[in-house]
């Protein structure tokens, strides 16, 4: 983990935003997957 100064604050913000987007997409994919698994196991 790197220790950064003020000018890099925007970079940290950008990284956090990207991580949040990736996490949201993964959670959405997980919900779809669990739904699909449930349908598959019932069929």
């Amino acid at each position: 983990m790197m220790t950064m100064n003020g000018p890099d604050e925007s970079q940290a913000e950008r990284i956090r935003r990207q991580r949040n987007i990736v996490m949201a997409l993964l959670l959405a994919a997980f919900v779809v997957l669990v739904f699909a698994i449930s349908i598959a196991r019932m069929s």
Binding site: M1, T3, G6, Q11, Q18, A40
Partner: protein, 304 residues
Amino acid sequence: MTAVAATYDLPADWRDFFALTKPRVMSLVIFTGLCGLLAAPTGIHPVLGFTAILCIALGAGGAAALNQWWEADLDAGMRRTADRPIPAGRMDPVSARDFGMMLSGASVVLMGFAVGWLAAAILAISIFYYAVIYTIWLKPRTPLNIVIGGGAGAFPPLIGWVAATGEITLMPVLLFAIIFMWTPPHFWALALFVQSDYAKVGIPMLPVVAGEAATRRQIMVYSVILLPLSLLPWWIGGTGAIYAVSAGVLSGLFLALALRVGLRRRSGEGDAMKPEKQLFAWSVIYLFALFAALVADRWLTVQG
């Protein structure tokens, strides 16, 4: 007003978490796992098949992350691995450890609930085998680390097969054995041309401990055994002629390259190690082609 520079930790990029899973290694794991699943005699619902492969990939990624967390100090000392997220200083080791444990646990639980607990149990064993038995126990202690540790990479086709059929039979065990026997010559070919890196960080790889000549002999021994072993799935009646011919040709070429490496004299200063690099490159192609032939054989047999 005086500007005060805030000091804080830069969070790790999502790409660094992805890099922790060793995507290139994972591609081979996914491929062999998929081949095991597709070559199995019983079908599986596509969604459950996809989930099984996803779990194999997540498990492999989790084990890779745990491996990089444990070996961060060693990785920092080797040119090939120095730019990985932890030694390069882009990620906190604790984040890597937690990420690895989370991926490993999630993959086993998901596999158990969605596909079956036998496949989940084998997946759990494979993660433990790689992250603990190989990485923590064997790798720093014995020059034969690759021989036993190679078992970790041999699990995916077994898991794929068991995910589809729900049982362990001789065929998936043979697929396991083929990868198990393929791993030492594959890694020792690599170790021959990066041995200075391993020596620098004190990893007892065979070329470092036993020397080049012994390593070259061992490469030949394993490659000789691999040839008949790769034909066993056909011999027991598990595959047809397409696989048999492919396995014979592929393993024959593998053995020819291995003999070229094995019968070579000690490499000297400035040696480009071309035969060793060719064997390493062929070994990767070999595994992809052999398992592709296995699936093609199964599909064509079913169609015919």
